[in-house]
């Protein structure tokens, strides 16, 4: 298929449809509402389910219900709406139901604003909701990546029977870029629904989907199972992009939009003769700790850039294991850093390294 000019929110919604998403439940919230609007038109056209819920609380539980019957389901929202979904997210995790959730983050805390932010890293990556679990979290930096990761999210969710969350931000949701949509996949036939799904106990014992294990030993068994799946995810699903790291003395680590901004800054810095490269984590869980460690062994300093007060930086420090000093630069509240600001941080680090040698 040819490339077309697509808005991020429309692109991921259409990508989900083409990945065989059979039902979408959501609630309007800026800056992702175009996805809901797109779904409201396209899903009925295709004979699929679109429903605007009375709240994000209801939306995630509609997603939960529909996904229990073995169909591909998704919802999308933005920060305050995702907060409301946390209860349902935990229940879905506790009953091992595959679900795709898109968070187009905005400035916070509280009602905050509608500008791009990365302030929900900890909320989404470190679990989301109560109890011991971690969803797979993927962070796109371009519209094409948003499309590709949305399609992949459905496959990963079903492979591991887990939640897959995409962590984008208002700028990726709102901007337009040329990108290519995938071909249309058919929706799953009723007979092909998974054996655990609620499809009516015809000719078999009843299926029960629940997240309650009243006996602590049984609950621990579920926890251990989830931990085992987590280990498999860590072993198989780490994703990141390297840029100009081969000879780098300084590494910038940044995800999503911050990664793109850092990329511009790095190119300018290279023109100035500074040996700097970029490590852009795409899977935030599983986090590329090993790659950070390798990079930390090679470079003299690491700069983490985020559109928050410093959240992923903690994971970078864990990965670096003290092998290289880690500094942080962030803007908050919906303020998007300019490449010049990041460049200045790189220049400062470079000067410091030179002064120290």
């Amino acid at each position: 298929m040819a490339k077309e000019l697509l808005k991020g929110n429309v692109a991921f919604a259409e990508a989900a449809i083409r990945a065989g998403c059979e039902a979408y439940f959501g609630y309007p919230i800026t800056p992702q509402t175009e996805a809901l609007e797109h779904m409201s038109k396209r899903m009925p056209e295709l004979g699929r389910v679109f429903l605007q819920a009375e709240s994000e609380v209801a939306a995630i539980n509609m997603v939960y219900g529909a996904a229990c019957t073995g169909v591909r389901v998704m919802t999308s929202s933005s920060s305050p709406g995702i907060s409301l979904m946390m209860e349902g997210i935990s229940y879905i995790a506790g009953s091992e139901i595959p679900v795709v959730i898109i968070n187009v983050m905005r400035g916070g805390p509280g009602l905050g604003n509608i500008a791009p932010s990365q302030g929900d890293y900890n909320q989404m990556v470190k679990g989301g909701g109560h109890g011991d679990f971690q969803p797979i979290v993927l962070a796109p930096a371009t519209i094409q990546e948003f499309i590709d990761l949305t399609v992949e999210a459905f496959d990963l969710a079903e492979k591991y029977r887990t939640i897959v969350a995409l962590l984008a931000d208002g700028s990726i949701g709102q901007m337009m870029e040329p990108a290519e949509l995938p071909p249309m996949r058919p929706v799953r036939k009723f007979k092909d629904r998974p054996s655990w799904a609620l499809t009516g106990a015809k000719g078999r014992d009843p299926n029960i989907i629940s997240s309650i294990y009243i006996d602590p030993v049984e609950e621990e068994k579920l926890n251990l199972k989830l931990m085992k799946i987590k280990e498999e995810i860590i072993a198989n699903e780490v994703r990141y992009r390297d840029l100009m790291l081969e000879d780098a003395e300084i590494a910038v680590v940044a995800f999503g939009t911050a990664g793109r901004i850092a990329q511009s800054a790095i190119k300018t810095a290279r023109e100035e003769g500074i040996k700097v490269g970029l490590l852009r984590p795409i899977s935030l869980f599983p986090f590329p700790y090993e790659r950070v460690k390798q990079v930390a062994d090679q470079v003299k300093a690491i700069l983490v850039v985020e559109m928050n007060g410093g959240q992923m930086v903690e994971d970078v420090r864990l990965g670096a294991e003290g092998r290289a000093p880690v500094t942080f630069y962030g803007r908050m509240g919906g303020v998007v850093p300019m490449p010049d600001e990041v460049l200045e941080e790189i220049q400062k680090l470079h000067a410091k390294l030179k002064g120290g040698s």
Partner: protein, 257 residues
């Protein structure tokens, strides 16, 4: 020599829609009666293999152990939203929720109201026993004025806690509701009426008429602190006057059984 001929005829069996598992409900609790009535109706309609139930949070959290059919266990109050998700992608299934008063009328008030408003093709069985049973007898949205509970030890003060929520009266105002009735489980005659209402509610769903709900006034001897027998009398003497039995909404197209 003339022999006495013994004829054995079975007049009472366990419905196929119930499992062999004994319930955890307290002696004298009417959940067991409600479960059985639902199971009998599902058997009689022949839809067990095509039905998906949703259990709530509360005493009936383990309802999925007792019904012999596919079941999901919802978050507190969210069963109508979960049922909506299930029904929307499986319009040919019979989908029902089983919810208590705390679950439906308090924490899940938004979900039940909007499910009714949308005319969601689901059936809701609403157990109203005027108390939170599972957590040990706290005040519910349906607790009667003056009723003592562990969180209203001096009796429910309407100045402080407001008035009981009358869900049939509220939900029957929505255009999406097809069948909204209140019945009671305090004696045999009322139990028989309750069963008929449950059949009508499931019929309303099967006939595609909209949202259906049967509220069942139920007893909680344990948390009311009285005997099972007195608890049934208390339903009649105290609950029925506050929650009048009757049909609050019946869709004109519903062919009543």
């Amino acid at each position: 020599m003339e022999k006495t001929k013994m004829v054995e005829s079975q007049i009472y069996t366990k419905p196929e829609s119930l499992t062999e598992i004994g319930t955890h409900y307290c002696p004298g609790c009417t959940h067991g009666i409600a479960h059985r009535l639902i199971a009998e109706v599902i058997d009689e309609m022949g839809v067990r293999e095509n039905t998906i139930g949703i259990a709530p949070v509360g005493c009936s959290v383990f309802a999925y152990n007792y019904f012999n059919m596919d079941f999901a266990e919802a978050a507190h109050g969210r069963a109508p939203a979960m049922a909506t998700g299930i029904k929307r992608v499986n319009p040919d299934k019979i989908v029902f929720t089983y919810q208590g008063d705390g679950d439906l009328a308090s924490i899940g008030a938004a979900e039940i109201l909007h499910a009714a408003g949308r005319g969601e093709h689901i059936t809701v069985i609403f157990i109203n026993n005027a108390i939170y049973g599972m957590t040990g007898g706290q005040m519910a949205p349906t607790t009667l004025p003056g009723q003592r509970t562990t969180s209203s030890p001096m009796g429910r003060d309407i100045e402080l806690h407001g008035f009981p929520m009358k869900m049939c009266e509220i939900l029957s105002q929505t255009d999406g509701a097809a069948y909204i009735v209140r019945r009671s489980l305090h004696d045999v005659a009322n139990i028989r009426k309750a069963k008929k209402a449950l059949r009508n509610a499931f019929e309303a769903q099967q006939q595609g008429l909209g949202f259906s709900m049967v509220e069942l006034l139920s007893s909680c001897p344990t948390n009311w602190g009285i005997t099972p027998e007195d608890a049934l009398k208390w339903i009649e003497s105290h609950m029925v006057p506050m929650y009048p039995l009757g049909d609050y909404k019946v869709h004109s197209a519903l062919s009543v059984k």
